[in-house]
């Protein structure tokens, strides 16, 4: 039987792919937003709210923020792996980043779920 080195032996490719896919989605979505507001700017809060609460727009934003969270997690982890050598320091940095991103995720759910 082939033995692999211990640890997350397979995650390199998965993370690399996810980082690229999330980047592509974020890029495409930003272009969509810029074009959309260039063609039809919204100046009224109620119109803005109706537009935002439409199912497809909300899903679009949800995917965008999920991509941002994934992208920043992989990116920050990558920076820690490169530069932080002491394991305890890397652990603290990753836990802090993870907690921060978790808070953002919960906040995001609050914003995106229809209220009341």
């Amino acid at each position: 039987m082939r033995l692999r080195p211990t640890g997350s032996a397979h995650t390199g490719l998965g993370e690399w792919l996810l980082q690229r896919l999330s980047a592509v989605y974020m890029g495409a979505f930003v272009i969509y937003l810029v074009v959309r507001f260039a063609i039809d700017p919204i100046n009224d809060y109620l119109v803005w709210r109706d537009w935002f609460l439409a199912g497809s727009v909300r899903i679009g934003f949800a995917l965008f923020f999920v991509s941002t969270l994934i992208h920043s997690w992989i990116g920050m982890r990558s920076v820690f792996m490169d530069y932080l050598k002491p394991v305890w320091l890397r652990f603290v940095a990753q836990v802090a980043t993870g907690t921060g991103l978790l808070v953002l995720t919960l906040w995001l759910i609050q914003i995106l779920l229809p209220s009341g």
Partner: protein, 233 residues
């Protein structure tokens, strides 16, 4: 006008710390390439240590950092260099003495990619044949002379020389992945899937920029990533 040099000097056995020593040569000393000049300087001061062998860019021994850029002293014309010429050892490697560095880790990483053909078929009477197209795929890969210019200019290799294979070893990994006669593609790819060995590469491309043989390790790394991606799709 004289040719001016500022050369890194360090003997770990006697020096507390490295220092820069200045040297001068007459303009008409006859040196054409940087290595010629270094050999003349060594006649002035025989304590100066550096490696050299073939003096024509084939052996890769005289790789060093010249005016901030890795290269082979034997194929860099003096007239192309801004003065004073700063000469330092390859960055990021332990210095044995002056411009001589310890490349053990670099060679270990090279060895780790199993840089030989793995083929379990019985050996044919004459040779394992390839089509001209299959052979063409190895161009730009087999020419590597292992001078370490690329790996020692790679920041990812500076930070993780023990875990990241580095561009030179990865170029060789691709050289055997791309070889139609090799039968260990799966195992070779398995070995590159973890977060460190291949994926510490952030496409900085210093490797391709400095390669004295004009090879393109960054593209080879991209090809490996593509091959890994195709395998999971």
């Amino acid at each position: 006008m004289a040719l001016r040099f500022r050369i890194y000097r360090y003997n770990p056995e006697s020096d507390q710390r490295p220092h820069i020593q200045k040297y001068e040569l007459d303009d008409d000393c006859g040196a054409v390439m940087l290595l010629d000049a270094l050999l003349l300087i060594k006649e002035q001061d025989d304590s100066l240590s550096f490696r050299r062998s073939c003096r024509e860019g084939v052996c890769g021994s005289d790789a060093m950092n010249i005016n901030g850029r890795n290269g082979l002293a034997c194929i860099i014309p003096l007239k192309d260099l801004k003065q004073p010429i700063d000469i330092r050892p390859l960055p990021g490697r332990p210095v044995i003495r002056d411009l001589v560095v310890d490349l053990s880790q670099f060679y270990n990483q090279y060895r780790a990619v199993k840089p030989w053909l793995i083929n379990n078929d019985p050996e044919p009477e004459i040779e394992r044949l390839q089509t001209p197209h299959e052979r063409e795929r190895l161009d730009g890969l087999y020419e590597c002379i292992l001078c370490a210019c690329c790996s020692t200019s790679c920041p990812s290799f500076w930070w993780n020389p023990d875990r990241f294979l580095g561009p030179a070893a990865l170029l060789q990994a691709w050289r055997f992945l791309a070889d139609s006669r090799d039968q260990a593609t799966g195992e070779r790819l398995d070995d590159l899937e973890d977060p460190y060995r291949l994926f510490r590469c952030h496409t900085i491309m210093n490797c391709t920029d400095v390669c004295p043989k004009d090879l393109n390790p960054a593209r080879a790394i991209g090809e490996i990533k593509q091959m890994l991606t195709k395998r999971v799709l």
